[in-house]
């Protein structure tokens, strides 16, 4: 047993339980689903045949899948950008001292605490043309309200607004914690040098916050890319396939059509796209890190 206590091996021993769990819960399912993606496995059929990359080839020929992918990327970019801008803006306002600050901070976090299913149901009612409070408010300005969930392009806008409403508080929280931890010295120096508020924001606040913001962007981007529950409840991917995202496509292919081979292949396509986007952001993060 003496050898096992040697420093170079004992470390491995400590991480072994974690590695075993990781292999069982992450590596094996990934391997299993990849293997399935190379077959024509349909749930309920007794046999699955190896078909190589045929599922992947079929996916690229399927206009519904391609449209779903483009739509998912579009929703991700718009939602994350708007959440970022609104979150940063609200954090800058909330970081100033004012009466009822704590109450406002708590209230602003509420959407994020609600289950996405409930959020989707709330907005589903808000978008109803017959009794929607949203449409009532729009009509007050003398404008005809849109058919939020049924007439293109509004369904995409509708689900993106819902996603933004729910997750903007995440950026608010990230930015607030970042602002609270910023050093005071650069601000004091800037004020002494006569910098304007705008200059202070662009030259000091934003650069110092950037590493934290990029991590927030990364988390949200991965999350929005998998958007499912809101769309499933509000439109089920409709009208037609107009709001079908990649997750909706995977769910439909796997759990309604039972084509688990094809669904696994489309899941892998999701992983590939999201990995590319993540790598770009991580490179950006590293560059910013080395600059600062």
């Amino acid at each position: 047993m003496g050898w096992i206590m040697k420093r170079r091996y004992v470390g491995y021993l400590y991480i072994l339980p974690c590695l075993i769990i990781l292999v069982i819960l992450v590596v094996y399912p990934l391997y299993f689903s990849f293997r399935i993606s190379l077959t024509d496995f349909t749930f309920g059929r007794p046999f699955a045949n190896y078909i190589g990359s045929e599922n992947y080839y079929q996916l690229f020929k399927d206009p519904i899948f391609i449209q779903s992918m483009v739509r998912t990327i579009f929703i991700t970019i718009i939602a994350v950008l708007v959440e970022f801008i609104c979150g940063l803006g609200s954090a800058l306002i909330l970081s100033r001292k004012f009466r009822g600050q704590n109450l406002i901070r708590t209230l602003i976090l509420l959407p994020m605490m609600i289950s996405p299913i409930v959020v989707a149901l709330i907005w589903l009612l808000m978008y109803q043309p017959d009794f929607s409070i949203l449409n009532y408010l729009i009509q007050m300005f003398g404008v005809d309200p849109p058919m939020w969930l049924t007439r293109p392009p509004w369904p995409i806008i509708g689900v993106t607004i819902t996603e933004i409403w729910e997750w903007t508080p995440f950026f608010t929280m990230v930015c607030l914690s970042g602002l609270a931890s910023l050093p005071l010295e650069p601000y004091e120096a800037a004020v002494t040098d006569g910098a304007t508020g705008w200059q202070i924001f662009w030259k000091i606040t934003l650069p110092l916050l950037t590493p934290l913001l990029l991590i927030g962007l990364l988390i949200r981007m991965i999350d929005v890319f998998r958007i499912f529950d809101i769309i499933y409840i509000m439109t089920e991917g409709g009208p037609g396939d107009y709001t079908s995202t990649m997750s909706i496509f995977v769910h439909r292919t796997g759990f309604i059509y039972r084509h688990l081979g094809m669904a696994s292949a489309s899941s892998y396509m999701m992983i590939i796209v999201i990995t590319i986007l993540t790598l770009i952001l991580i490179r950006l993060l590293n560059r910013v890190g080395s600059q600062s």
């Binding site: 969930l149 049924t150 007439r151 037609g240």
Partner: protein, 423 residues
């Protein structure tokens, strides 16, 4: 030392507890597990399971699920041969997968054996064909039955001086008069959302125009026929007289819209009359509605089939449970809670006088409604159909575009399942 003793003591206590629980369970008798859709009729059974237990000594455990989860649970149960559920509630088109694959038990002999008690001839012949038989053998008993139905506001139709429409032309003629005389009332409402509801209605409509969605002998898709063209054209015409948001309406939104007195006609379900429009707590049109067959003569049949898992170790007990679920006495007790498959209930004049949904359902069954497909890719076919019809209703595609796309999709599906062989 003290730890070792404590450990041994805990182990001993655990062992005694496990043995005791096992003995108690063995003494209690057989337990069967059932998967149910989470609906009021099924909840009613749950409340009355004590009666069955008292009658047979068999304990029943029920798990409730939503539509899609129930399908997944049953599928995993059968495909994995887990035997988790002895009795499964299947949407009857699922018979094309579950019964075809031999996952459910063929109890034809038991039906014959227990004929006097079960009274199979009391089940409407058309209901037997749709919900009970697969390839001529008994696999299920019908429960939670319903069909598409057409409802009108009698007060409005009295004022415009028209009888209940029986054709689509009559529907549009009535719609014109309603628009003139009742500008605040929407002529017709239905489910336009991209889900199974619009697909079921489309199948009914197409049937009314003289064709099924595919050739039942050769499985050739029939979306290139005049019937399909008429069906999609009809959706486009209906969209013009439906509520603006109807392309997003599911079943509940549609029930509510008509219950609130906002529409003069609705394409809905047989049970909607009694359950929604006749409910004074939720409806402003109590006593002002009438239901019947779909205009154009095509109505689709919905509903569920209760089946026994072939992996069940308690098939006899499961059969006893099925008989109890749909016994003539039980059907009479549940007369207000969904339509009955039994002639002794739906054809009973006293019942018909009191329960409008039973009368409507009997009329629908007598007119031979169209069945949903009972083949393996049923849900794939239905999903593509719902997408196509919803595209037309929402103005995303023209009827011609939707129909052509659907024909190609159907062809791919039928070919991939080896059902259709291209000449």
């Amino acid at each position: 030392m003290i730890y070792k003793r404590a450990f041994l003591f805990i182990m001993l206590v655990s062992l005694v507890m496990m043995v005791s629980i096992g003995l108690v369970q063995a003494k209690e008798g057989t337990t069967i597990r059932v998967s149910f859709i989470d609906e009021p009729r099924e909840r009613w059974y749950w409340d009355h399971l004590g009666e069955f237990e008292k009658l047979t000594g068999t304990k029943v455990v029920i798990d409730f699920y939503g539509f899609e989860t129930l399908y997944q649970k049953n599928l995993a149960n059968c495909y994995g041969h887990t035997g988790e559920y002895d009795v499964m509630q299947l949407h009857y088109p699922d018979m094309g997968l579950f019964d075809a694959r031999g996952w459910c038990y063929d109890f034809t002999d038991w039906v014959e054996r227990d004929k006097a008690e079960f009274q199979p001839d009391d089940i409407h012949p058309y209901q037997r064909e749709s919900h009970c038989l697969f390839n001529g053998r008994w696999f299920g008993v019908p429960m939670h039955c319903n069909a598409n139905a057409f409802f009108i506001r009698t007060d409005i139709f009295d004022k415009i001086g028209l009888p209940m429409p029986t054709s689509w032309d009559e529907v549009f003629k009535a719609a014109d008069l309603i628009k003139q005389q009742f500008p605040d009332i929407t002529p017709i409402t239905t489910e336009g959302r991209r889900d199974i509801q619009i697909a079921i209605k489309s199948i009914g409509m197409m049937w009314g125009f003289g064709s099924y969605i595919y050739d039942t002998q050769t499985f050739k898709p029939l979306m290139d026929t005049d019937a399909a063209k008429n069906m999609f054209d009809l959706w486009q015409k209906l969209a013009a007289i439906m509520p603006e948001g109807a392309a997003g309406y599911g079943a509940n939104e549609n029930f509510q819209y008509f219950s609130q007195g906002k529409a003069a006609m609705t394409l809905s379900w047989t049970h909607a009359g009694t359950n929604f429009y006749g409910d004074p707590n939720n409806s402003v049109i109590v006593g002002k509605w009438k239901g019947g067959y779909f205009p154009g003569g095509g109505t689709a049949l919905g509903g569920w089939s209760m089946q026994i898992n072939n992996d069940s170790k308690h098939k006899e007990e499961a059969w006893e449970f099925l008989k109890w679920l749909v016994s003539p006495e039980m059907e009479m007790r549940l007369v207000s809670n969904m339509e009955s498959p039994r002639l002794s209930v739906i054809a009973n004049p006293e019942v018909q006088a009191k329960e409008d949904h039973q009368r409507i359902y009997y009329e629908v069954l007598q007119a031979k409604p169209v069945m949903l497909p009972k083949i393996e890719p049923t849900y794939e076919l239905m999903d593509y159909l719902s997408s196509a019809a919803n595209s037309v209703v929402s103005g995303l595609a023209t009827p011609e575009e939707a129909r052509e796309k659907l024909q190609n999709q159907y062809k791919q599906i039928m070919l991939s399942y080896g059902l259709y062989k291209e000449q």
